[in-house]
């Protein structure tokens, strides 16, 4: 089943955070690139049902984003999240599991599984306030996976991870992408290069590119920079560039 986003828009008083974004995502890892302020977090929040769009729809299969059915298949890691004081990693995951509607035995099982998956099993009884940034991030990833989501949305998931953790994270996301839809946003180009099947680029609230590595053809970083510097406006746009409301398809 696919995630369908149709003409999603969100305006704030002095800024257009999202401008008629339309796309469809199937299984695999999709990377969302863009500068700070490009609208990535706004888009992700709308996909998670946290922000109500001004217009447009988001559906997964038959379920609209506002339904409980949709949220039951969703896993989300926000850019920044807090925790109730005094919670240990275990407490935190059990709490989130309860919110996601998992039964207690299933919750306990999943908590154990995920803590070892993200490498926190030795720290599970320690309070979260003693955690480093990277550890907290890993805990966030664990909570997003609690309900075995079909749609996993990660906002800047690799921020704060050291290189070894990054590799581990990439492998995990790669595996998950084989079964589910993964959308991850970042402003670190190298992350996307290695794991994304499909690349999306946003600028000023608009989706300016939706395609694969092949469509880009050249080095991703250079391409990315070109988009934001507007160098060579006369060069032919590569396949996948979004012009108006149509996407150029390449290689068919």
């Amino acid at each position: 089943m696919e995630l369908h986003i149709d003409r999603l828009s969100k305006h704030y008083k002095n800024k257009i955070a999202a401008d008629r974004i339309s796309l469809s995502l199937g299984r695999g890892v999709h990377g969302l690139l863009g500068a700070n302020g490009a609208g990535k977090t706004t888009l992700m929040r709308m996909i998670c049902g946290i922000l109500r769009p001004d217009s447009g729809t988001v559906t997964f299969g038959r379920a609209d984003v506002s339904t409980e059915e949709y949220r039951s298949i969703l896993g989300y890691l926000p850019q920044d999240f807090g925790y109730y004081p005094g919670f240990t990693a275990e407490d935190f995951l059990m709490y989130m599991a309860a919110l996601k509607g998992l039964r207690k035995t299933d919750a306990r099982c999943r908590t154990e599984e995920l803590l070892s998956l993200v490498g926190l099993e030795t720290h599970k009884k320690q309070k979260i306030k003693t955690y480093s940034g990277g550890m907290k991030q890993r805990l966030g990833i664990a909570q997003a996976l609690l309900n075995r989501p079909k749609l996993l949305v990660l906002d800047e998931p690799t921020a704060g991870l050291d290189p070894k953790e990054r590799v581990r994270f990439r492998e995990m996301i790669d595996r998950i992408g084989q079964e589910s839809i993964v959308l991850l946003s970042t402003h670190i180009v190298s992350d996307i290069e290695l794991i994304a099947d499909r690349i999306l680029m946003m600028k000023d609230g608009r989706l300016i590119f939706n395609g694969t590595h092949e469509d880009i053809g050249e080095n991703l970083e250079e391409f990315y920079l070109k988009q934001f510097d507007d160098i060579n406006p006369s060069a032919p746009a590569p396949a996948g560039t979004v012009t108006g409301s149509k996407i150029k398809h390449g290689g068919i």
Partner: protein, 269 residues
């Protein structure tokens, strides 16, 4: 030779396919909408699910214990003071009895404060985004917390009310003014504050409001204002009605707001 073979096969399979046509199914949609299917699907397809009552139980577990303690203390204080009324020496050597209900009226604002603070913990600790995207969303969490504690609070107030006419020699109107009014007033004033502010400012403001309400009732009694208000016909019932309705409206606004993220900490990205 091989190409011919291949063409033959494709022709064969194409012809085969054309031989097997199917009339469109007629009852597909009704089936998937039917209650049989939905009931069975709910059991199996969505994650092994907990029901609302179990959810409420788990939320109850997460409400901090001192909320229950506070209720107990107020109740205990009420009983104690009823049995041993507190007498203070007044300046003119008159023994002024600080009536129990008035003391309680000073405490009850903090009961309301505690409940609202407890409900607002998600906002205080940055858990809103996570809770909003969960199946039992932030909205559900808030309703659970406010519901549980709210009911508990109202039960306490309901238990205290009959003590007035029976033990404190205060009529119904005065008892209501001392027990119910402070609660409703505090709610009406603090709920908008929680809606509009976050973090430390919010805590300080809310505590301030509760303290003010508390002091107001004490002074109102001391200045005889309270007694005069009670004597004015229909004033207390009107005040109760007004603040009751106001509190409910504010509550609705608060809960409705929790359906989406309204506080954008990171306006970038």
């Amino acid at each position: 030779m091989k190409r011919n073979h291949f063409k033959q096969k494709t022709l064969l399979t194409k012809t085969l396919r054309s031989l097997y046509t199917v009339p469109a199914p007629e009852r597909k949609d009704t089936f998937f909408q039917s209650s049989d299917y939905r009931a069975a699907a709910r059991e199996t397809l969505y994650s092994p699910r907990i029901s609302w009552s179990v959810f409420l139980q788990t939320q109850m577990h997460y409400i901090r214990k001192w909320n229950w303690l506070l209720t107990l203390c107020i109740f205990a204080a009420a009983i104690l003071l009823t049995l041993h009324p507190w007498q203070t020496p007044a300046p003119q050597e008159q023994l002024q009895e600080l009536s129990t209900p008035v003391i309680l009226s000073a405490c009850i604002p903090f009961l309301a404060l505690a409940t609202i603070a407890e409900a607002g913990r998600s906002a205080r600790f940055g858990m809103e985004e996570l809770e909003l995207s969960a199946r039992f969303s932030l909205h559900a969490v808030l309703c659970a917390r406010l519901g549980i504690l709210g009911v508990e609070n109202l039960l306490l107030l309901a238990v205290l009310m009959p003590l007035g006419p029976h033990f404190w020699e205060t009529d119904l109107s005065m008892t209501a003014a001392c027990i119910l009014l402070p609660y409703l007033l505090t709610c009406t004033l603090t709920l908008p504050a929680v809606r509009k502010l976050r973090g430390r400012d919010c805590t300080i403001l809310c505590t301030g409001i509760s303290a003010l309400v508390s002091v107001f009732f004490l002074t109102a009694y001391a200045a005889d204002f309270l007694t005069r208000a009670v004597d004015t016909p229909a004033l207390i019932p009107a005040a109760l009605l007004f603040f009751g309705v106001a509190a409910v409206l504010e509550l609705r606004k608060y809960i409705r707001q929790s359906e989406e993220l309204t506080w954008n900490f990171t306006l970038t990205g």
